[in-house]
C-alpha cells in the first residue's frame, strides 16, 4: 500500500511540483491549501507524513504543528516544515513546536525526496 503524504501548501505550482516528485517515488500525495481546515483534514486522513508550509492563509503552519503535537495521536507523526522565510528565528520556532525537519524554499528536489524517505523510515 502506498504511503500517504498530506501537503499543506497554498501555492498551486509548488503543490504540482511536490506532487510530481513524490508520486514518482511511490507516495500518495494529497494537497490541502487552507490552514483553518488543515488539522481536521489530518485527523480525518491519518497521513503517514505531513509537509507543512509555514505561511498559510487562515492559520499558520506553526499553529497547526502545535495543535498536532498537542494531540497524543499525532505526537510521533513526521512533519516536514517548508518555509519561504528562511530565518534562524523561524527554524528555532519550528524546532520548539516539534517539527521533524525544517527546509527553506526554494528547496532542492533531491533533498526534499531524501528527507521524506528518511522521515517515513523512522
Amino acid at each position: 500500500m502506498r504511503k500517504h503524504v498530506l501537503l499543506v501548501e497554498d501555492e498551486a505550482n509548488i503543490i504540482e511540483a511536490v506532487r510530481f516528485l513524490l508520486t514518482r517515488d511511490g507516495w500518495h500525495v494529497e494537497a490541502h491549501a487552507d490552514g483553518n481546515t488543515a488539522m481536521a483534514r489530518i485527523v480525518e486522513r491519518q497521513p503517514d507524513l505531513v509537509i507543512l508550509d509555514l505561511m498559510l492563509p487562515g492559520k499558520s503552519g506553526l499553529d497547526i504543528l502545535r495543535d498536532l503535537r498537542g494531540n497524543p495521536t499525532f505526537a510521533e507523526l513526521p512533519v516536514l516544515m517548508l518555509t519561504a522565510r528562511g530565518q534562524e528565528q523561524d527554524r528555532d520556532l519550528a524546532a520548539q513546536a516539534g517539527a521533524s525537519r525544517f527546509m527553506t524554499k526554494p528547496f532542492s528536489n533531491v533533498e526534499v525526496l531524501e528527507a521524506v524517505r528518511e522521515l517515513a523510515a523512522q
Binding site: E11, N13, A17, A84, K105, P106, F107, S108, N109
Partner: protein, 894 residues
C-alpha cells in the same frame, strides 16, 4: 574809644560764641532731639539771611539816596510770603520729596537730571552771587574802616589788605562751620541755629540804633516825624517802573538766591514751618525796615558828607555811644557773615556736586564711587569751592573798586539769580517745559544780564570801554549795553531786568514748545508739577524707631539668609554696645543695611524695602521705575531660562518621537524585508523545483515538458513584476519620482486602462461606463494615473468572484474635485481588511499566485503624489474604490 584791635577781639569772641551755639545744635541733632531745631521760629529766623549787610547798612543808604524805594527790597519777599505762598509751598514740597540739595539740583532734576543744566545753573549762580559776596566784604571793610578812622592811636585802614584778611577769615569761618564734620549731608543744623542767633543780633542792633535815633537823638516820635517831613526823602515820588521792577526783582531773588533756596527749601522740614514763616517773616522784615527812614533822615541831617551806607554805625559813633556802635557793628557783621557762610556753602554744594564730583568720578573710573574716600573728596571739593567763591567775591571787590553803593551791587546779584525764575517756576508749574528750553532760557538771560548789568557795573573803563557803552560793540547801537535795541529812556536796572527776564521767559517758552522732552524729563516734570497729588514723605534720610529693628532683621534674613543677616545685626549691636541681635536702627546702620541688601536685590529695591520698614521718604516714582527695571531684568532672565527649558523639553520630545518612529520604522523594515523574502522565494521555489524536474527527469512527456516550462516562464514574469513594483514603490516613497504633467481626457485614460486589462475588448468581466461623464480634461501625470486605473480594473477582474462579474466605472465632478468610482459586484472587503488593503503586501488571504500585494500601496502613493487620493468605498454592494483628483488638475472638456 573802641580800638580796632579790641573790635577784632569782640568779633572773634562773637564768632567763637556762634561756633559754640552751632556745635551745641549739631550735638543736639546727633542726640536725636531735633524737635526744637525744627521749630517754625528757628526756620523763620533762618530766613533772615535775606537781610544781609545790604539790608542792614545799605537800606539806610538806599533810603538816603532814593527815598522810599528801599521798601521794595522788603516788599518783594513779603509779597512772596503773602501772595505767592502756594509757589513756595510747592517748591518746598518738591524739595522734600525729591531730596533736592540746591537750586541747580532742582532745575536739573526737573529737566531730566541734566548735568549740563546743573553746571550752567551753578556757573550762573556763582557769577551772579559773586557781587553779593563782594558787597558783604565791602560793608565789613567799610565798617572796620570807620572804627580805624576814629582810633586815635591807629592808622587809616588799608582797605585792600583788610578785605583780603576779612575774606580769609570768612573762608576759615565758613569751612569751620560748614565742613567741620565729614558728614557730607546737606543739612546744616548748626548753621541754621547760628543764623537764627545772628538774625536776632542784627534785628536787636538795628532796633537799638533806631530807638536811639528816634528817642535819643530826635527826642520822640513826633519830633522824628517832623524831621522826616522836612527832609529830602519826603519829596521823593514813586517811580512806577522802577518800583514795580525792583519789587518783582526782590521777590524773584528771594526764591532764586542759592542761599535762600538753601534755608527755604533744603532745610525745610515740614509745611508748618512755612505757615509760621508766612506771617512771621514779613513781620521780621517790617521790624528791620522800621527805623530805616529815621536813621537815614538823621544821618542826612547830621552827617551830610559821610557815606549814607554807614549811618547805622556813624550816628552812634558821632554821639560817642561806643557800646551801641559795637552792637551795630556786630549786627552788620552778623548780616555779612551769615550771608557769606550760607551763600558760599550753598554754592559750594552746587560746585562740588555738579562740577567737581562728576569730573573726579570720571577721572577715577567706576570703582571710585564705592571706595571709602569719596566723602573725603566731597569735603575737600567743598572747601576748595568755598575758597574759590569767597575768593571771587574778593576779586570782584578789588576790581569794582569797592566804591559803589551797596544797593546797586545787590541789585546786580538779584537780577543775575532771577534768571533762574522762568526755568524754575515754569518747570514746576508747566509740564511742557523742556531741558532744551531751560538751557536756552538760562543762557539767554545770563548773557543779557552780563551784557546789560554785570559788565557795566564795573563802570566805564572797567571791563567795557566808554565807547562800547556809548556806541555799542563794533558801533552796533542796537547792542548798547544800557540801551538794548534802542530803549534809551529806561532806567538801567529796569532796562536790564526787563530785557533779560522777558527774553529769558520767551526763550524758555518757545524752545520748550518746539522741542520734545525725553522720557525722564516727562516723568520728573509730571512728578514735580503734580507734587501735591501724592502723599509726600515728610522726612529725609532714614530714621526709624527701635521697634522696627526686628522687622528689619526679618526682612534681612529673607534676603541675605538667616546666618548672614544675624551676624550683620549682631556685629552692629555689639558695636553699639548692646548684647543680642537687635541694634538701634541708626541712619548709618540703615545705610549699611541698604548697601548689603542692594548687593543682593539691587539698589532701588533695597532702598524701597528699607523705606517701607523705616518709614523714610515716600518711595518716589523714580524708585519704582528703578525697581521695575531690576524686576524687568530678572523677569527677562527668567523668561530666557524658561524659554530655554521649554526648548530643551521640546527637543527631548522631538528626539523621543523620532526614536519611537525609528524603532517603528525598524520593525516595519524587518517585517517588510521578511515579506519581500517570502514573496521572492515563492516564485523561485516553483522555478527551481520545475527546472530540476526538467533537468533530472528523463522520461517526461512533451506536454509535461511544455507545461513545466510555461510554469517556469510565468513564475519568472511574476518575479520580474514583483521587482518592478518594489522599485516603483521605493521611488514613489522616496519622493524621487518626477511627474510628467500633460493634458488628456479622462475618457482616453480609462479606455487605455480597460484596453490593457482586457485586450481585444472582451473578457470574463463586463465593464460598464458612462462616457458622457468622462468628458473631463485632466492636467496631471497621465501615465501614472493610468497605472492606478489599470490596477483597479485588473484587481476587479482578478478578485471579483461573482458568477457574472461586472465593473461599473463612474466619473463625477464637483466644484473642487473630480471623482472616479470603480465598483464591482463582488463580495466586497470586510471592514477590518479595508484598513489594511493599502498597506504593502496586504494581499488578502487568497491563494491566487498573481500579484504580490503591492498594487494598492503603489496606487495610494501615486495618488498622493498627484495631489489626490484613493480610498475604499464602502456600502456599494460590492468592492468599490474611489479615486479623487483636485479640480486644479481637472478642466471641463472644451
Amino acid at each position: 574809644m573802641t580800638t580796632l584791635n579790641s573790635l577784632v577781639l569782640v568779633c572773634l569772641a562773637y564768632v567763637a560764641f556762634l561756633f559754640a551755639v552751632a556745635f551745641a545744635a549739631e550735638r543736639a541733632a546727633v542726640r536725636g532731639s531735633r524737635q526744637w531745631l525744627r521749630a517754625p521760629l528757628i526756620y523763620t529766623l533762618s530766613l533772615s539771611i535775606y537781610c544781609t549787610a545790604w539790608t542792614f547798612y545799605g537800606a539806610v543808604g538806599y533810603a538816603a539816596r532814593s527815598g522810599m524805594e528801599f521798601v521794595t527790597i522788603y516788599l518783594g519777599p513779603s509779597l512772596v510770603m503773602f501772595g505767592w505762598l502756594w509757589v513756595l509751598r510747592k517748591l518746598v514740597r518738591i524739595g522734600r520729596t525729591h531730596k533736592v540739595t540746591s537750586i541747580a539740583d532742582l532745575i536739573s532734576s526737573r529737566f531730566g537730571k541734566s548735568n549740563t543744566l546743573a553746571v550752567l545753573v551753578t556757573l550762573v549762580a556763582v557769577i551772579g552771587v559773586t557781587p553779593y559776596i563782594a558787597l558783604q566784604l565791602q560793608s565789613v571793610t567799610l565798617s572796620l574802616a570807620i572804627f580805624a578812622e576814629l582810633d586815635p592811636g591807629g592808622e587809616p585802614l588799608n582797605k585792600g589788605p583788610a578785605a583780603f584778611w576779612i575774606s580769609f577769615g570768612l573762608i576759615l569761618f565758613t569751612m569751620l562751620f560748614g565742613t567741620r564734620n565729614l558728614n557730607a549731608n546737606e543739612r546744616q543744623h548748626g548753621i541754621v541755629i547760628a543764623i537764627a542767633v545772628e538774625a536776632v543780633v542784627k534785628l536787636v542792633a538795628l532796633l537799638a540804633v533806631g530807638a536811639f535815633v528816634v528817642w535819643g537823638m530826635a527826642g520822640g516820635v513826633g519830633e522824628m516825624m517832623q524831621r522826616i517831613d522836612q527832609s529830602s526823602i519826603a519829596e521823593w515820588r514813586v517811580e512806577r517802573g522802577r518800583w514795580a521792577t525792583v519789587t518783582f526783582l526782590a521777590a524773584a531773588a528771594f526764591l532764586c538766591l542759592p542761599r535762600m533756596f538753601q534755608v527755604l527749601v533744603v532745610e525745610n522740614d515740614d509745611d508748618r514751618q512755612l505757615e509760621t514763616a508766612s506771617w512771621l517773616f514779613p513781620l521780621y522784615l517790617f521790624a528791620m525796615s522800621l527805623f530805616v527812614v529815621p536813621i537815614a533822615v538823621m544821618g542826612l541831617e547830621m552827617l551830610p558828607e559821610s557815606n549814607p551806607d554807614l549811618y547805622v554805625l556813624t550816628l552812634p559813633l558821632l554821639l560817642e555811644k561806643d557800646a551801641l556802635a559795637v552792637l551795630a557793628f556786630l549786627g552788620g557783621f552778623s548780616s555779612a557773615t551769615s550771608m557769606v557762610i550760607v551763600a558760599s556753602l550753598a554754592l559750594a554744594t552746587m560746585v562740588s556736586n555738579h562740577i567737581v564730583m562728576p569730573i573726579w568720578l570720571s577721572l577715577h573710573g567706576e570703582g571710585a564711587s564705592v571706595s571709602g574716600d569719596v566723602r573725603h573728596v566731597v569735603i575737600t571739593a567743598r572747601r576748595l569751592s568755598i575758597m574759590f567763591i569767597i575768593g571771587l567775591g574778593y576779586i570782584y571787590f578789588r576790581i569794582s573798586g569797592g566804591s559803589a553803593a551797596l544797593a546797586s551791587i545787590g541789585m546786580i546779584s538779584f537780577a543775575g539769580v532771577a534768571q533762574f525764575l522762568p526755568a524754575m517756576i515754569g518747570g514746576i508749574f508747566w509740564r511742557g517745559g523742556t531741558r532744551a528750553g531751560a538751557l536756552a532760557a538760562v543762557s539767554v538771560g545770563f548773557v543779557i544780564w552780563v551784557w546789560t548789568m554785570l559788565l557795566p557795573s564795573f563802570g566805564a573803563g572797567g571791563l567795557l570801554t566808554p565807547q562800547v557803552l556809548a556806541e555799542g560793540p563794533w558801533g552796533i547801537r542796537a547792542l548798547r549795553p544800557q540801551a538794548l535795541f534802542g530803549f534809551e529812556a529806561l532806567d538801567s536796572t529796569v532796562h536790564a531786568v526787563w530785557w533779560s527776564l522777558s527774553l529769558n521767559f520767551l526763550t524758555f517758552w518757545c524752545v520748550s514748545i518746539f522741542t520734545f522732552p525725553r522720557p525722564l524729563e516727562r516723568l520728573q516734570g509730571a512728578q514735580m508739577v503734580n507734587v501735591f497729588d501724592r502723599a509726600g514723605g515728610t522726612t529725609r534720610g532714614w530714621s526709624a524707631t527701635a521697634a522696627q529693628s526686628e522687622d528689619l532683621l526679618i526682612m534681612a534674613q529673607r534676603i541675605l539668609g538667616p546666618e548672614e543677616a544675624r551676624t550683620l545685626f549682631r556685629q552692629e549691636a555689639s558695636a553699639q554696645g548692646y548684647s543680642g541681635n537687635l541694634p538701634d536702627p541708626s541712619p548709618e546702620f540703615l545705610q549699611k543695611l541698604e548697601r548689603e541688601l542692594a548687593a543682593a536685590v539691587g539698589a532701588a529695591t533695597a532702598h524701597a524695602m528699607i523705606g517701607q520698614i523705616a518709614g523714610g521718604p515716600g518711595i518716589s516714582v523714580e524708585d519704582l521705575i528703578a525697581v521695575a527695571d531690576e524686576s524687568a531684568q530678572i523677569l527677562e532672565y527668567s523668561n530666557q531660562i524658561e524659554a530655554k527649558s521649554a526648548e530643551l523639553s521640546r527637543t527631548a520630545r522631538q528626539l523621543k518621537e523620532a526614536n519611537t518612529k525609528l524603532k517603528k520604522l525598524s520593525v516595519q523594515k524587518d517585517a517588510f524585508l521578511s515579506q519581500i523574502s517570502h514573496e521572492l522565494r515563492t516564485p523561485m521555489t516553483s522555478i527551481r523545483a520545475f527546472s530540476e524536474i526538467l533537468r533530472d527527469t528523463d522520461e517526461l512527456a512533451v506536454d509535461e515538458k511544455t507545461r513545466f516550462a510555461s510554469i517556469i516562464h510565468d513564475e519568472a514574469i511574476r518575479l520580474t513584476r514583483l521587482l518592478d513594483d518594489l522599485l516603483d514603490l521605493s521611488v514613489l516613497e522616496n519622493g524621487q519620482v518626477t511627474l510628467n504633467r500633460q493634458v488628456g481626457s479622462l475618457e482616453t485614460l480609462l479606455n487605455r486602462a480597460v484596453q490593457t486589462v482586457q485586450p481585444g475588448g472582451d473578457g470574463p468581466m463586463k465593464i460598464i461606463r458612462r462616457r458622457i461623464n468622462e468628458q473631463v480634461l485632466l492636467q496631471t501625470d497621465l501615465d501614472r494615473l493610468t497605472q492606478v486605473f489599470i490596477n483597479l480594473v485588473s484587481n476587479a477582474q482578478k478578485y471579483c468572484a461573482a458568477p457574472n462579474p461586472r465593473l461599473t466605472i463612474q466619473a463625477n465632478q464637483t466644484d473642487t474635485e473630480v471623482t472616479i468610482d470603480f465598483i464591482d459586484n463582488g463580495t466586497g472587503i470586510s471592514e477590518a481588511d479595508q484598513a489594511l488593503i493599502f498597506e504593502k503586501f496586504s494581499r488578502l488571504g487568497d491563494s491566487d499566485g498573481s500579484g504580490a500585494g503591492l498594487g494598492l500601496a503603489i496606487c495610494a502613493e501615486i495618488m498622493e503624489r498627484l495631489g489626490g487620493s484613493i480610498r475604499y468605498l464602502p456600502g456599494t454592494g460590492g468592492t468599490g474604490f474611489r479615486v479623487t483628483l483636485p479640480k486644479v488638475h481637472a478642466m471641463a472638456a472644451q
